[in-house]
Amino acid sequence: MQFVIKKNELLTGLQQIVRVIPSRTTKPILYGVKIDAEFNRIRMTAYDLEIGLEILIENKDQEQVEVLQVEEPGSIVINAKFLLEIIRKLPQQLVRFNLKNHIATIQSGAAIYTLNGLDSREFPLLPQVDDDEKLTMASTLLLQSIQKTVYAVATIESRPTLTGVHFKLKNDILTLTGTDSHRLSNLKISVDTLKEYSFEEAIMPGKTLQELLRILPASEEMVEITLADHQMLIRYDNIHFYSRLIEGTYPDISRIIPETFRTSIKIGTKNLIESIERAALLARENDNHVIRLHLRPNQTEITSTSQELGKISEVIEPQTFQGEELMLACNARFMLESLKTIDTEDVSIQFTGPGSAFIITPVESDTNHLQLILPVRLNHA
């Protein structure tokens, strides 16, 4: 194997790659990045058996400047974090790789490194994903959709399926759902599909999505999503992101979303967030971060009481109010995390009673986003 590559191209790729490198593993080869030199491109792969990331570096036709020149194809696995540090410190803009018997020679200017590599045949293979069927959407839309649902997933594995976001595709509508059983976020978006692609269930681990959020660009660039064999492949530009899916059956959420309401309000999103943040200061000591909402026709009162610290009460005026007066308690942190995903000026909240779920939706928005929070039942009041 022999190739010459521009240092910056290699560096950008490696910086993405090391995010997927596990910090602790029982298989030392997984600390490595697999580098494949093909006839006109370099393929870098990291795979911790949970997340796989593949980055292609090639000369783009329209560009005049060559970033890469492969002189002889080949393949090797090198410790990724170590390689990144070396490349970062190289003196010149061009790097020459040379491989013989699992020993890589890296040369840049007068600096020459000789590194022991591992046999790339021992590196686990990425899953085979057939890309006949796929859905396409803008990167920034996928990014926002994940952000608006992944916050609600469970962090404890008592129900493994709840630690991921549930994806469903039907009639060109992609539905994302996240819940930890105390709150839920459900988002529907229109996407383009090839061959009327659809699937019922794909649960992607919350941790993997957090990783994906760091890699996805916030641009209009198109992203392709394909499912196969308990894996999801997300592809854009020259990057392929593979994720293992969580096995198991996701709970049927269609029956738990209430349809009739006792009390409904529309209220300024920013005002409500700030007011709850103030009340939350006193709710911090409480395990459930309890605040109380008292909904009256022209007043929404937010209160919080701490036995040690004292009490806070604040009244804000809703834009509209319908239905009966109602009082309930809920977790301030859940409220804030939900409200912060709302990007419209006003938010609509529909209540069914102090012991059942209430629904938060944006007002006058193109996005079909529904969030649900269950109240806290007070035992002493």
Partner: protein, 419 residues
């Protein structure tokens, strides 16, 4: 007026309870003659020679028998030994009654363990004009009422009283009084007699060359602090006969900081579902106590000891919120087991819950009827309170793995003695 602090401890408590409750020994026993007791031991399981000695009377100890010795070895030393099974309920009930007697003599009193108690009284005072006589009054009352001997250390503070009590075990009459201002009896003791230091006493002897507590008192506070950190201050204080701890009459009623239960299994368990059954039984017990105290735990721990009591692990994990319900906590314990179990046979299992909060409000759930669950737990607790823990239990406890039924006959891992 100052206070005199006392520490009273029962002699060979479990063994003495057994001797005192057996008619055949009554006539010959005398308070002032340890050797008037029979050579008797309480053994974990008298039927098995591998069982261990839990307690031994002074005549048994005089034959070289020590606690934690195997029964077989004890019988080799003294074939004529009287061997009895433990009756934990008897000991605990006797203990409670003895504590009551102590409180009647000295109202300012704090239970320290099952057979020890601190107390304090003013000095000089007309009510307790002779401290040694007051202590002897208590000693006599406990003998008259329970036929159990006790030793009493009297000193200007709790720590010195504990040390004085240890000295009292070696003197005739079993009472030692160290009046305020006289550190000589403390200072001439060997450094290993400094109670509560564990290995640090050894360090004092080895690294500082301190033979006696008096030697320790001559080491500068700074030097002790450099070697032991904050413990340096404590050692310095104790060696000068100072201990500011007050008596807490309600020490045993203070809210718990953690709850835990542990069981040694009758054989090594290799199957996950068998271990899981025992974990659930222990967790049910922990949760029952949490609910009874109106507390909830935010962290849960699992301890496992492997076959032959060699190796094992203890690992804890935080929960997202505080719970007092077994079903909410159980999956986390299983996750701990799956993550840390090497696959070796398991001989003992322990479950603990800590990071306790006062039980407050219930976060409702989408997939579970929380108020119904709370009501169910409340009902089960009521049934257990009224009809006993074996009146209602999980079906899994009837499997070969279940320990609940055999545990219900034990206290602290030993037979309670009640049918």
């Amino acid at each position: 007026m100052t206070l005199i602090y006392g520490l009273v401890d029962m002699q060979s408590f479990y063994a003495s309870c057994e001797v005192a409750s057996r008619r055949e020994f009554t006539v010959t026993r005398r308070m002032d003659r340890d050797d008037s007791d029979p050579a008797l031991v309480v053994a974990g399981d008298p039927a098995r020679r591998s069982g261990i000695i839990l307690a031994a009377t002074p005549p048994a100890k005089a034959r070289g028998i020590t606690t934690a010795m195997r029964l077989g070895e004890a019988l080799r030393l003294a074939p004529e030994l009287v061997v009895v099974a433990p009756r934990m309920r008897l000991y605990i009930e006797t203990s409670a009654r003895i504590q009551q007697t102590i409180r009647e003599h000295f109202p300012l009193q704090e239970q320290f363990s099952v057979d020890e108690s601190f107390f304090a009284f003013p000095h000089p005072s007309t009510l307790f004009c002779d401290p040694v006589a007051a202590a002897r009054g208590l000693q006599q009352a406990i003998w008259d009422q329970f036929r159990i001997r006790c030793r009493i250390g009297l000193a200007p503070n709790k720590w010195m009283a504990k040390v004085a009590n240890n000295v009292a075990k070696t003197v005739a009459g079993g009472i030692v009084w160290w009046p305020d201002g006289d550190l000589l009896p403390l200072h001439e003791l060997h450094v290993s007699k400094m109670w509560g230091l564990r290995k640090r006493a050894h360090v004092l002897e080895l690294e500082f060359g301190a033979k006696t507590i008096g030697d320790v008192s001559r080491i500068s506070r700074g030097a002790l602090r450099d070697r032991f950190g904050t413990w340096g201050d404590v050692i310095h204080r104790w060696s000068h006969g100072e201990d500011p701890s007050p008596i807490h009459p309600d020490a045993y009623d203070a809210p718990h900081k953690s709850y835990s239960h542990r069981v040694t299994l009758p054989r090594d368990f290799y199957a996950r579902d068998e271990v899981a059954t025992v974990i659930l039984e222990l967790l049910d017990e922990v949760c029952r106590r949490l609910r009874h105290a109106g507390q909830r735990g935010k962290r849960v721990g699992l301890g496992v000891t492997y076959a032959r009591f060699e190796g094992g692990f203890y690992r804890a994990r935080a929960l997202t919120s505080a719970h007092d319900d077994a079903r909410a906590i159980y999956p986390t314990l299983l996750a701990l087991l799956d993550q840390h179990w090497s696959g070796d046979g398991i001989r003992a299992v322990g479950v603990s819950v800590d990071d306790l909060k006062t039980a407050a409000d219930d976060q409702l759930s989408l997939f579970e009827d929380i108020p119904k669950r709370v009501q169910l737990n409340r009902t089960i607790d009521l049934i257990h309170e009224r009809y006993g823990k074996t009146s209602l239990y999980r079906a899994a406890s009837l499997t070969a793995a279940g320990q609940l039924l055999s545990r219900s006959k034990k206290i602290g891992g030993h037979w309670s003695g009640t049918p």
